[in-house]
């Protein structure tokens, strides 16, 4: 087994894992703070990818430049979605089931709107710098994955900084840890939920752009992405950004190693089965609270 090949595979895996990590962090955020299982989370990642794509193809705007803009846009969209769709559900008796149903509806709507507007042909983001690759020793690493990974890491770091070093962020954490207590100390739970959901969707969008630099995307690809989101959130622990991030890298590593030895399909089976096993012995997740 060629070492170079293995190393390339592992690195590819880890880079991809980092992007999945960003995608999952937002999902875990809404689960943790509001008990909302947002099945449509990955759909907004796809939306983000499309926005960046059109900005690039029609407007010539480099994805790296359009990302902050679309993050903001999606933050607003997330807030609107929260107000209109999610908030009523949080008042229901069974928020978990209710949120699954409503987000499923949302996913259908958004996916089909995208499909109708932009057609289900696969697309990919290919700014010119992704055509070249990085050469380390004998390894070849595509620039696309590297930049996507960098984007994801920066976004995760920003999220982490927000949660731990800003007042609002700490309010979000407080709500997460103890909803009743948070309200009692004067935290406006509704506003916190609004911000949290907005951030969640925004981060999904950024993850989508990062993903689009590596792989082609189409409206229904969110289904595949969602499975990884579930995986990572549960194993990484719903309570932890660092945990989810590290899990992403770990999963990426495992994927990379397995991909070097097994046909791709078996990698997935192994991964999911492994994760089910972990769940059975440690339901809180490896890093969970």
């Amino acid at each position: 087994m060629e070492l170079t090949f293995l190393a390339e595979s592992v690195i590819s895996g880890v880079l991809l894992g980092g992007i999945y990590a960003l995608l999952s962090v937002g999902f875990g955020l809404t689960w943790g703070t509001m008990q909302v299982l947002n099945i449509s989370h990955a759909v907004f990642a796809v939306l983000g990818a499309y926005v960046a794509y059109w900005c690039f193809v029609k407007g010539g705007v480099d994805p790296l430049l359009s990302v902050p803009f679309l993050a903001f846009l999606l933050f607003l969209l997330g807030g609107a979605v929260y107000r209109v769709v999610i908030r009523p559900v949080t008042k229901a008796r069974d928020t978990v089931m209710g949120s699954m149903v409503v987000s499923f509806g949302l996913a259908i709507v958004v996916e089909n709107i995208m499909s109708g507007l932009w057609h289900p042909d696969p697309r990919i983001l290919k700014p010119s710098y992704t055509d070249t690759s990085l050469f380390i020793g004998e390894m070849v690493i595509g620039k696309g994955p590297l930049i996507g990974f960098a984007m994801a890491i920066v976004a995760i770091a920003l999220l982490y900084a927000f949660l731990h070093h800003t007042f609002t962020g700490k309010a979000v954490q407080a709500t997460w840890q103890n909803p009743t207590g948070a309200v009692l100390v004067g935290i406006n739970r509704d506003r916190v939920s609004l911000i949290t959901f907005g951030l969640s969707i925004a981060s999904a969008g950024v993850a989508g752009v990062a993903m689009a630099l590596i792989y082609s995307f189409y409206p229904s690809v969110h289904n595949d992405w969602t499975l990884y989101v579930f995986l990572l959130t549960i194993v990484g622990g719903v309570g932890s950004i660092i945990g989810t991030a590290l899990t992403g890298l770990l999963i990426g590593l495992i994927m990379g190693v397995c991909a070097a030895f097994l046909p791709f399909i078996w990698v997935n089976i192994l991964l999911f089965a492994l994760l089910l096993v972990i769940l059975l012995f440690k339901p809180e997740g490896i890093f969970g609270l």
Binding site: V84, V102, I108, V109, L276
Partner: protein, 326 residues
């Protein structure tokens, strides 16, 4: 005379229904439904009803775990598929008619449920739901790569040597029978000691244990029973489709549809899944017929969202709240 633990109350906060009259209406409806093919309705109508019968079976059987025990499984399709694949393999490899192998299909589904359920049922709430989803994904991936069952190419059933009309009618009656059987069994469970235990489990699992309920075993029983009926339905429905393939049978959309039907119809009693399956299927069909297939998906999604916003606890709860102001 109703005997279920849920009916012990004299001032039950549930709608009073004249039992014998309701029973009579039900029997009349059943007779009408069963004799429908004799009137030679348009084939697509029979098809619609067949799919409704399927969803009634799936949602009712799902509700044992989902509604009564409160364990929301997103993997019910797995058992449906196992039933289908059992009859398909039975036909292709052993030449056996699916009408004979459907019950064994259900039994195999039940067996798989026992094996998978034993560890997975130890999880709670959202963790259980997501694990059940992961289980479904694993099964789908395995079946996609398993050449014996056709892998990604799928399996074909041999068609019955009868006309399309007769073919449709036969499946109609059989699926009606399965839907009826499933519903009756679930209704029986609801009124029995088994049902009382499941509901207690949902309310407070710790308390359930302190009053002597073997929660692990009860959950497993419900899981196995529900899976059996899903497998049974799958065994026949696969034959009806005459072609099965992992992407079709293990589709997570089906799981989500079941969830929605139970949710909107009401998951607390046996009438809920029935109502939900009928309502949502008809709604979908109406949209597709009158508005067009492309926009139908978007509209369906929108309706779901709207329903959730205005009736976050399901239709039945909504109606009850409107009827009896507290």
């Amino acid at each position: 005379m109703r005997d279920s633990i849920l009916e012990l109350s004299t001032e039950a906060p549930r709608p009073r229904v004249n039992t014998s009259r309701a029973g009579l209406i039900a029997v009349i409806c059943l007779i009408l439904l069963a004799s429908l093919p004799l009137f030679r309705p348009p084939l697509f109508f029979l098809s619609l009803l067949i799919s409704i019968f399927l969803f009634v079976s799936l949602t009712e059987s799902w509700n044992l775990m989902g509604g009564y025990a409160g364990y929301i499984s997103l993997g019910h399709v797995v058992f449906f598929s196992i039933g289908a694949y059992t009859t398909a393999v039975g036909m292709n490899v052993f030449g056996a008619s699916p009408f004979l192998t459907a019950v064994p299909g259900g039994i195999i589904a039940g067996a798989v449920a026992a094996i998978v359920g034993y560890p997975v049922l130890r999880l709670k709430g959202a963790y259980f739901s997501i694990s059940s989803l992961l289980m479904a994904v694993i099964f789908q991936l395995v079946f996609l790569n398993w050449t014996f069952v056709g892998g990604s190419t799928g399996l074909w059933y041999k068609l019955m040597p009868v006309s399309i009309g007769a073919n449709r009618a036969i499946f109609y009656e059989v699926m009606l029978g399965i839907a009826l059987l499933t519903t009756l069994v679930v209704r029986h469970v609801e009124r029995s000691k088994f049902g009382a235990g499941l509901i207690t489990l949902r309310e407070d699992e710790d308390v359930a244990r302190t009053i002597g309920i073997n929660t692990a075993w009860l959950k497993l029983k419900a899981f196995i029973l529900g899976s059996f009926f899903a497998g049974l339905a799958g065994g026949i429905y696969g034959y009806y489709l005459s072609f099965i393939q992992p992407d079709i049978t293990f589709n997570i959309n089906t799981s989500l549809l079941i969830l929605m039907m139970a949710f909107f119809g009401g998951c607390m009693t046996w009438t809920g899944p029935l109502l939900g399956a009928v309502l949502l299927s008809l709604t979908n069909q109406l949209i597709v017929t009158f508005i067009g297939a492309e926009i139908s998906r978007i509209l369906y999604g929108l309706i779901l969202i709207l329903l959730m916003i205005f009736m976050p606890n399901g239709i039945v709860e909504f109606l009850r709240a409107r009827r009896s102001p507290r």
